[in-house]
Structures are given as structure tokens and as C-alpha cells.
Amino acid sequence: MNAQLVAVLALAVGTYAFRLAGPVLQGRVELPDRIRELLGAGATVLLVALLATGALTAGHEFAGWARPAGVVVGGVLAWRRAPFAVVVVAAAAVTGLLRLAGLP
């Protein structure tokens, strides 16, 4: 079978198993606060690492300035609690316009 298809299915099955935890364990198990906080912090660290590498690098190299500039504009808007859709469109628009102006 296609390796990419296997990756999608593995991710789907594993994710569904995580989601079943609530309905199956409901009322029987309470996650200790410490574990819950560590899971939350782990997810945050992963997301920040993903966004930092995604904003700054392409392959194994620096992505150029246009992309991080767009991400920073999106980040400032998000910080000022702009709606999600505005953040996404503004980030893409800034990056696209900078590229149009010749910045890689």
C-alpha cells in the first residue's frame, strides 16, 4: 500500500483512539493535574517549534524574509485579538505582496 496512505490512516486511527478516551473513561478515571498540564505544555512546545521552523526555514535552509514578515504581521494581529480569518488572510497577503515587490 502507498506509504502516504498508511501515514494518513495511522494518524487517523491514533487520533480517534485519543478522542475515545473521554467517552470510554468517563467517570472512571481522572487524569492527574500534573499530567494534564504536561500534555498541554508539550502540545504548545510542539506547535511553537512547528511555527518557528515553518516560518523561518524551507527544506534545510532559510526561507527568505517574505514568509517570516507575513507571519509576524499575522502574529501581531492575533496578539491584538483579531479574528482568525483576518490573521490568516493578512499573513498571506503581506507575504504575497512582498514577493510581488521582489523580496524572496
Binding site: 480517534y16 478515571v29 504548545t44 510542539l46 518557528a52 479574528p83 504575497g96 510581488l100
Partner: protein, 215 residues
């Protein structure tokens, strides 16, 4: 509440279009983002897995990163389990609709009846909006060609940043761990295979000790 759900659906639809377009523009077949959205239905994990596949990181790294990100849905599903309903069909179907967004809608309410309504309205609405927009984005991505021209490659990091800001605002300990982890991941990117630097970032968690956990 329906209005709030509709606004979040609209925002997710914009993200969904970017997701479909970015995946296809990165060289993946149209069926991949579409199928993934139906069976995984978790935005940040999907973006991460596809980002790794597009960067050439391989299916194992893609699935592992997505799964690690989705461990948090276990915590969310425990938190909102009462809102799914009592029957097993409702629990089994509802489980698939547990996301950051549906959990946020449920956790904002205390009345059991309102929690159940919020869960199902948000869950079904978001599932529909997400899958339709990803399909549209994937088809558009195939037609658009190079989506970098439109800056769509900046959409994914910007989405993650918006998702992660509330958690960063809340805790100084998490901010420190995330900053360290992010720096490690970026510094390691030139030297390690794709997907590995992000997992290495978890080393940042070592900066969290129960005593220094400051809010």
C-alpha cells in the same frame, strides 16, 4: 451561539482552503488532504503532517508528529465527555468531533443541556465547513499552480501562532519551554532530517519543573 459557531466555521474555512491548496501545491495528490480531513479532522496535526510530507520528511515522521500533537485531544475528550450524550452511537460519533474549537465552545458553558447543544452544533458545523473548504482548496491548488506567489506558505505558521497565543499568554513556564524548544528546532533544521527538529524541541519541556511552574 449559532452566530459564534458560524464565525469560527468561516475562519476555519479560510484555513481549510489554505490547507488543501498548500498540500496540493507542495506536490501531494488531491485525495490526500481530502481524505485526511475526513478521517483525521484536526487542523494543526494535518498541517504538520502535510508540512513534513511536503518537506520530504517521510510518512513515519509525519504520522508521529501529528499523533504527538493530537495527544491533547485525549485531555479535551475527557473534559467534554458529558456533552456527547449517553447512547453509545452518540459517544462513538461524537468522539470524532472533539477538537480544540468544539472543546472551547463546550467549556465556556456549564448547563448540561447547553453543553450538549454547543458540542453538536459546533462539531457538525465545523466538520462540514472544514471538509468542504479543504476539498475546494485542493481543487483550487491544482489549478493555481505555485501558491507561494499568493503567500499561502505564510498561512500555516500564522495559524499555529494564533492557536498557540492563548496558552503562551497564560503561563510563563510554558513560554520559556516553548521559546527554548523553538530555538532548538530552528537551529537543528539544517543538520537533521525533516520532522526530527520539531520532536527535538520537546527537550524544552525539561525547563518545566513542578516547583518553577509559575503562572
Amino acid at each position: 451561539m449559532v452566530r459564534d459557531v458560524a464565525l469560527v466555521c468561516l475562519a476555519d474555512a479560510v484555513v481549510g482552503v489554505s490547507f488543501g491548496a498548500v498540500a496540493v501545491a507542495g506536490g501531494l495528490p488531491v485525495w490526500l488532504p481530502v481524505l485526511m480531513s475526513l478521517v483525521v479532522f484536526a487542523g494543526s496535526a494535518q498541517f504538520s503532517a502535510v508540512g513534513i510530507l511536503v518537506a520530504g520528511g517521510g510518512p513515519v515522521a509525519a504520522a508521529a508528529t501529528g499523533l504527538l500533537l493530537n495527544t491533547r485531544t485525549a485531555a479535551f475528550s475527557l473534559a467534554v465527555a458529558d456533552a456527547l450524550g449517553r447512547s453509545w452511537p452518540a459517544r462513538l460519533v461524537g468522539a470524532h468531533l472533539v477538537t480544540d474549537e468544539t472543546a472551547a465552545f463546550v467549556l465556556a458553558r456549564t448547563d448540561p443541556e447547553q453543553r450538549r447543544t454547543a458540542f453538536w452544533v459546533a462539531g457538525v458545523g465545523l466538520f462540514a465547513a472544514w471538509n468542504v473548504s479543504v476539498l475546494g482548496g485542493a481543487l483550487a491548488g491544482a489549478a493555481l499552480g505555485d501558491t507561494d506567489r499568493f503567500g499561502l506558505d505564510a498561512a500555516f505558521p500564522a495559524v499555529l501562532l494564533a492557536l498557540v497565543l492563548p496558552a503562551l499568554r497564560e503561563s510563563r513556564g510554558v513560554r520559556r519551554a516553548a521559546a527554548a524548544g523553538g530555538a532548538v528546532a530552528v537551529a537543528a533544521t539544517p543538520f537533521l532530517p525533516s520532522g526530527a527538529p520539531v520532536l527535538l524541541a520537546l527537550a524544552g519541556l525539561s525547563l518545566l519543573s513542578s516547583r518553577r511552574w509559575s503562572r
